[in-house]
């Protein structure tokens, strides 16, 4: 074949049409790939939030509540058993139940945090401290029952292991913080890939529009139904991905603000309250009024209670937040009496109050705060489930719609018999 004829055939209308059709199909293939990657990225991070990050956040707060409950109950058991008194068996059972629950929560957290070594390390510390804590509690109990010296020192050690600066609560909070960062990363993941996919789809649509114009010029066809169908496929897929990504982001934002936000506040509240109670207990067992909790802790707790109430987004949540405040104030009433007893050197009355009414009221506060966390867990899970549902069938669509579009474009753009010769 002569070179001139080859060039002429290469530039012939059918050849140009085939080239355009091939390019469009290639563009569809690229769009399908990028769309699929985007959807998969969103989907996998959504799954991680639903199956891992979310449950870890909740279990960590459950662990904090269990530690607080165990410690409050153990303190009551110890103080009731001082000087040959009868140990409070019901509080001992509560302690045992809380201590038995904690390893299960640690296991739940461990199975959900994936391969993040630093989080595993913090969790391992909590597990080791829990074992040590249970041991020290038993030692303190035995010493207390036998009137041995050093029993109160052992109780102080147990308090340090649970609520101290490097204690279980601090490590649990570290797990929370790391998981929260992971959650934020997961929420933001996939944005770039969605943007790339949408740009690719927009480019494909632009090429299809140009192709329609070229086709009209080359063949005098008024409109190619194939190209129109292909354009519709691109338009649907692009809108679908865009809408799903935006709505998913809204759902996750709602999960963050209305679910996790309240969980985080409740966690801070529980930790601060626990810190308060630990200081109170220390003041009694050391018989030292200077160790009574600082007023600034109460101020912090008040701020958190107010934040919790203000962040309520329904009447029910507000009622729950109000219940937490009422339970806290009820505990604080007893605590003020205890502080008065400590200041006036009336330690027997103080011990009796801490072991009885004070402990009960603190338990009321702690479980009410925990109930609020659990209610927000439902809200959090609901929003995350909605975010995941936004992507239903989108992976399938990301392959199928470009495929249909490519076939339609090919059929719409290919030369027709006897159209040009």
């Amino acid at each position: 074949m002569a070179e001139g004829e080859q060039t002429r055939r290469g530039r012939s209308t059918p050849a140009v049409l085939y080239t355009w059709a091939g390019a469009i199909v290639a563009l569809f293939a690229l769009s399908a790939l990028l769309s699929f990657i985007a959807v998969q990225t969103l989907s996998s991070t959504g799954d991680r939030i639903q199956m891992s990050t979310g449950p870890v956040l909740i279990s960590t707060q459950g662990l904090v509540a269990s530690i607080a409950e165990a410690d409050a109950a153990n303190t009551a058991v110890f103080l009731s058993g001082i000087d040959g008194g009868d140990e409070d068996v019901s509080q001992r059972r509560l302690y045992e139940s809380a201590v038995a629950r904690a390893p299960e929560q640690i296991e739940d957290i461990s199975s959900g945090i994936g391969d993040n070594e630093l989080t595993h390390d913090a969790l391992k510390d909590v597990a080791q401290q829990l074992t040590a804590y249970a041991g020290v509690v038993e030692q303190a109990r035995l010493s207390n029952a036998n009137g041995l010296p050093g029993a109160t020192g052992l109780l102080t050690d147990s308090l340090d292991l649970s609520g101290g600066a490097n204690g279980m609560l601090a490590n649990a909070n570290e797990v929370t913080e790391r998981t929260r960062n992971q959650f934020n990363d997961d929420v933001n993941a996939g944005r770039a890939s969605v943007l790339i996919a949408v740009v690719a789809l927009a480019a494909t649509l632009l090429v299809l529009v140009i192709a329609q114009a070229r086709l009209k010029k080359l063949t005098h066809r008024r409109i190619s139904l194939g190209l129109v169908a292909a354009s519709m496929c691109v338009l649907i897929l692009g809108s679908w991905i865009g809408a799903a990504a935006v709505l998913r982001a809204n759902d996750l934002s709602q999960a963050t603000d209305e679910g996790f936000g309240d969980i985080a506040i409740a966690a801070q509240l529980q930790t601060a309250a626990f810190e308060y109670k630990t200081a109170e207990t220390n003041a009694i067992i050391e018989e030292d009024a200077s160790q009574l909790p600082d007023a600034s802790i109460i101020d912090d707790i008040e701020i958190q209670l107010t934040t919790l109430a203000n962040s309520a987004d329904s009447q029910r949540e507000r009622a729950q937040a109000d219940a937490v405040r009422t339970r806290w104030q009820s505990y604080l009433e007893t605590s003020n009496t205890i502080a008065g007893d400590v200041r006036s050197g009336n330690f027997d009355d103080a011990r009796s109050l801490v072991a009885g009414e004070g402990n009960q009221r603190f338990t009321g506060f702690n479980t009410t705060a925990e109930a609020l966390v659990l209610a927000n867990q439902d809200q959090f899970n609901g929003s995350v489930a909605n975010a995941t549902a936004r992507l239903n069938q989108l992976s399938f669509a990301a392959i199928l719609l470009p495929l249909i579009g490519a076939v339609a474009a090919w059929l719409g753009y290919r030369p027709r018999i006897n159209e040009y010769y």
Partner: protein
């Protein structure tokens, strides 16, 4: 036991637009719209349903003359109060499961199972989350009732009354005092042979047997619970039990058919008021504590009225009237003061350890812990077979 049948539930096969769209096509506009239209899932049910309230409770748990006052206070049109809850087995099999098992609308709005069964209802998603915004008196719930593993903080149920299962007996009929389970189970005591009542709730009867064996019902193992059932089977084989009893133990004792029985504290205390010769004791080995708790079933029609009922019951003044009537353990803070302010007989109840257990009493109580469900079902099956063998009181 008298099984009661409820009218068949009306089925409402709802096909919402959303579910239709979601299922309409594997791909395309339907799925696209479904993904855009998903609304935030919420566990919060809107507060509505002040319609006719239906409450299913155990017998003799509420003074019925309070019903008009309750109806007025909570704003319900009517209250259909049914004392049809006889025991937890029939309660589950004949009332709860048939009504709630397929996600339909129950024909009752409030039910009062024992705490372990409430736990199962919650676990199966058969209980509504409590609308705390219309139950402000929830803050009066005694924290001791809020630490259950099945519902931390009491989000799905509010205890109606607690109780203890101990021993009730007539000293004139038992050849003297009975202060322990060992004495209750003493087959050499001829006065007791064939004249002892076995309480029909597995966790209480087996729990007491476990205490007799030196095991802890608060932390049951399958082996320990099995040993408890074995002990009861041996006693039944020796002809020790007269019958299986529930709240009918009172009639069986007063008629003289029973000399001694496992008994519920409230009714035993009420019996003592009428017939002081009867004793109720927490055995030396300990007693079993439990509580019956108010649950709003999923999809209850009079949802808000049911919550109103709960709120009413948690007003200490109202709780005082309930406790003064049934003499069971009161879960409402402030009720002691309310009873004292009433004076007279009611005021004496404020210091009754059967209604407000002190530390010493609480230290002698165990609440049945949780067993693996399969293990628990096996123990239940063995216990049910035993009760069938012994027979129920007439």
């Amino acid at each position: 036991m008298s099984p009661r049948r409820f009218p068949p539930r009306t089925l409402h096969p709802l096909h919402s637009r959303r579910t239709f769209l979601a299922g309409a096509g594997a791909l395309g506009a339907g799925a696209f719209l479904a993904s855009c239209g998903a609304s935030a899932a919420s566990s919060e049910r809107p507060v509505d349903g002040f319609a006719n309230l239906t409450v299913v409770n155990w017998a003799e748990y509420l003074p019925l003359d309070l019903l008009p006052q309750i109806t007025e206070d909570i704003g319900s049109r009517t209250i259909d109060y049914r004392e049809e809850y006889v025991d937890n087995v029939s309660g589950f099999d004949e009332i709860i499961a048939p009504q709630l098992g397929d996600g339909g609308t129950p024909n009752f709005d409030l039910i009062v199972p024992t705490q372990w069964l409430a736990g199962r209802m919650i676990d199966r998603g058969w209980a509504e989350a409590l609308p705390l915004e219309i139950i402000p008196n929830h803050v009066n719930l005694d924290p001791r009732f809020m630490t259950n593993d099945f519902d931390r903080g009491s989000r799905f149920q509010m205890p109606w009354q607690g109780g203890m299962t101990g021993i009730s007996y007539d000293p004139a009929e038992t050849n003297g005092e009975i202060s322990s389970i060992e004495q209750l189970f003493d087959t050499t005591n001829s006065a007791l042979r064939g004249r002892v009542g076995l309480i029909g709730e597995m966790r209480e009867a087996v729990g007491l047997a476990m205490l007799a064996n030196g095991d802890d019902p608060a932390r049951p193992t399958f082996d320990a619970a099995s040993a408890g059932v074995d002990l009861l089977i041996d006693l039944a084989g020796a002809g020790h039990f007269q019958s299986v009893v529930f709240d009918d133990f009172v009639g069986e004792l007063t008629s003289g058919r029973l000399a001694a029985t496992m008994a519920w504290s409230g009714q035993a205390a009420a019996l003592q008021l009428d017939s002081p010769q009867f004793e109720f004791v927490i055995p030396d080995e300990g007693a079993i504590s439990w509580f019956d708790t108010m649950v709003i079933p999923k999809n209850a029609v009079a949802f808000a009225a049911a919550a109103g009922w709960m709120n009413w019951a948690y007003d200490p003044v109202n709780a005082a009237q309930i406790s003064a009537f049934n003499l069971y353990v009161c879960p409402v803070l402030g009720t002691q003061d309310a009873l004292r302010s009433l004076g007279g007989f009611e005021a004496t109840l404020a210091d009754n350890p059967l209604i407000f257990p002190d530390t010493e009493t609480r230290n002698r109580l165990s609440t049945w812990g949780s067993l693996d469900l399969d293990a628990e079902l096996e123990i239940e099956a063995r216990f049910d077979a035993l009760t069938e063998q012994i027979g129920f009181a007439n």
